[in-house]
């Protein structure tokens, strides 16, 4: 187990190294020579200022020196300074992360409950009206682009409600939990359901398919033959085995979203990591973009390692490969 973990962590480090290389290529090499210094120096900068910035940030040195410097700073946890927010990238990210965390945690709880429950019910009563309803709904939400659902929610539950004198849900923004718990909840409900409904669809399909496979296994027949109650057969014997692929998908999805639920955050104007990334791209705030991309990649890599470790605990065969 220890060897397995060490190998996975080393692979994770390799992936993160590739991420730093590609980020460096995209942002430092991609725009062409001199462009980074010009961007960083600001629009009104004179050529002297640009040259000075270029020299100070080693941008006039060979690429490998630049990359080495970039990596060196990264390894020290120094992501640089946002020239738009006037503070360190670390604190920009620290301010945005709780918002993304609120959004993703709530949505993740909702979608795993909705997805697994509807998937199990569908599989247990395969081909029934309930199954058809759930699979139909799953296909519907699976096809639904996140921003379409979010904006339709806003149109109905914010706009229509508000003009009819019911103002429960705010149109955009984020209220910190510590500041006003009720306001936080009211602000979170629409984003939670947007993200959860769109994500749950995959889980309904995944759980249903996996349950149907497992329920065809011999040991389920054995369990039934022993005279176990159907409820016990379904939840104790089938669901447990059927959940393995679901857990894998869940870990990866949560990991990806923790790096910024870009679309949902943009639709609901919540300044989380994804929103911050999009905003800093529009503002050409290079250090923040790089910071968010690296943090988001780290979240995915970490989630993958956690999932693989869990998998190895659940299924001993994995460790041998």
């Amino acid at each position: 187990m220890a060897r397995f973990l060490v190998r996975r962590i080393l692979q994770g480090i390799l992936v993160m190294w590739l991420v730093t290389v590609s980020v460096f290529l995209i942002f430092f090499v991609g725009p062409g020579p001199g462009s980074v210094a010009r961007t960083l120096a600001g629009k009104q900068a004179t050529p002297q200022v640009v040259a000075e910035v270029s020299h100070r940030l080693l941008l006039d040195r060979p690429l490998w020196v630049q990359y080495g410097h970039f990596l060196w700073l990264l390894l020290h946890g120094n992501l640089g300074y946002s020239f738009y927010h006037g503070q360190s990238v670390n604190s920009v990210i620290a301010a945005a992360f709780p918002i993304t965390l609120s959004l993703v945690t709530g949505a993740a709880v909702l979608w795993i409950l909705m997805g697994v429950l509807s998937g199990v019910l569908s599989a247990v009563r395969a081909r029934s009206i309930m199954d058809r309803t759930f699979t139909g709904l799953a296909l519907f939400f699976y096809s639904m682009p996140t921003f379409v659902l979010g904006l339709l929610f806003l149109l109905i539950f914010y706009y229509e409600f508000t003009i009819h004198g019911i103002s429960i849900f705010p149109g955009s923004g984020y209220t910190p939990l510590t500041q006003d718990p009720l306001g936080w909840l009211r602000g979170m409900i629409l984003p939670w359901f947007t993200l959860a409904l769109v994500s749950a669809a995959t889980y309904t399909r995944l759980t249903r398919g996996s349950m149907l496979d497992v329920m065809g296994e011999d040991y389920i027949r054995t369990a039934r033959a022993k005279g176990l109650s159907e409820r016990r057969v379904i939840f104790r014997h089938s669901l447990r085995a059927a959940l393995t692929p679901v857990v894998t998908q869940y870990g990866i999805d949560v990991g990806v979203l923790l790096g910024g639920a870009v679309i949902t955050e943009v639709v609901f104007g919540m300044p989380g990591l994804g929103f911050t990334a999009v905003q800093s791209i529009q503002q050409q705030d290079l250090p923040v973009i790089i910071g968010v991309v690296i943090v988001a990649s780290a979240a995915v890599v970490l989630a993958n390692i956690v999932v693989d470790a869990l998998y190895a605990v659940l299924d001993p065969r994995v460790r041998l490969h």
Partner: protein, 322 residues
């Protein structure tokens, strides 16, 4: 050659006999897995309805100029007097503008028709790019194995492990938005999932006797990969392709929604939906609802059709394509 032509192939026969060309002039007609699949698909009512919907969207895209000339409204034409209310807001559906106008007084119906062109073009071309690259890399990795496989498999892992949307936005911002850029960015990041599936299939197929036979006859690796192996992984590739098209359409719309896709004033569904945000507070629901419906109906139709194709051609492969 593993062609089982005599007698109808029972449905349980794995779909791997693959691309066996139809051989005629036999007493008992042999039905290739392709024909069996096509027949199964033709009996799938949901799939056929969604195919009809897809055809309608395609026709709408092709005949967008006709729709424009019938209504007399060009896709970029701004009707500032009749297309906007006195206060400068969009007007709702009426006899002149069947689906209303947008924030600049342009006909939404005409722009939806033109937007279908972008969605379908990107959906098909970017998916094709994804599939060609993915299949090539997947076959190469699976066939050569060893070091090649390790490197390519790690590379695919890396591609699958990066936050796609953030990388795509960053790349588009650096290169500059545009149709070709969107297609290439989607293709660049999307092929790894195809590659992984194809690689897995090739790993088992390359152990088959007919591959060994081809090798002992002195066939080159390229011949084996593309003449002997490719036809046998084409079924999962086709299934994957149909399911990938709606995903690609949504990705394009999302990029345009975020302002890094197709630049204005080109009509694009994602962009229209994004623009609608500025006016829906004034009650211009049609500006949001109609482009959203166009997008949703298209992706839904492709997904239902894709499910049908999967059930028809790859009955046992469900787990691969949830």
């Amino acid at each position: 050659m593993s062609q089982s032509v005599v007698g109808a192939i029972p449905p349980s026969e794995p779909a791997q006999g693959g691309a066996a060309p139809l051989e005629v002039a036999r007493k008992i007609e042999g039905r290739s897995p392709w024909r069996l699949g096509a027949q199964r698909l033709a009996h799938d009512r949901a799939a056929m309805v969604s195919l009809a919907v897809i055809m309608i969207v395609v026709l709408m895209a092709i005949f967008a100029p006709v729709i424009a000339s019938v209504t007399g409204h060009g896709p970029y034409q701004q009707f500032t007097t009749i297309g906007l209310s006195p206060s400068g807001q969009p007007v709702g559906p009426n006899s002149t503008f069947l689906l209303g106008t947008d924030d600049l007084g342009r006909d939404i119906l005409v722009r939806i028709a033109y937007g279908a062109r972008i969605s379908l073009l990107v959906g098909v071309v970017a998916t094709a790019l994804t599939v060609v690259v993915g299949a090539t890399v997947g076959i190469t990795a699976g066939y050569f194995g060893k070091f090649t496989d390790t490197v390519l498999a790690r590379f695919m892992d890396w591609l699958l492990a990066i936050p796609f949307l953030l990388f795509a936005i960053s790349l588009v911002t650096v290169i500059g938005a545009g149709l070709a850029v969107v297609i290439i960015v989607i293709g660049l990041f999307g092929w790894a999932s195809v590659g992984r599936v194809v690689r897995g299939q090739v790993l088992s197929i390359k152990e088959k006797e007919y591959v060994e036979a081809a090798r002992s006859l002195g066939a080159s690796p390229w011949r084996i990969m593309f003449i002997d192996i490719l036809p046998n992984v084409i079924a999962p590739i086709i299934v994957y392709t149909t399911l990938l098209i709606p995903l690609t359409i949504v990705t394009e719309a999302s990029l345009s929604f975020l302002g890094v896709g197709i630049p204005p004033p080109t009509a694009d569904w994602g962009q229209m939906i994004s623009e609608s945000q500025s006016v829906y507070q004034y009650g211009a629901w049609w500006f949001l609802v109609f482009p959203s419906l166009a997008l949703l109906i298209t992706t839904l139709a492709f997904n239902i059709f894709g499910d049908g194709v999967r059930d028809a051609f790859d009955p046992r492969g469900d787990q691969l394509f949830v």
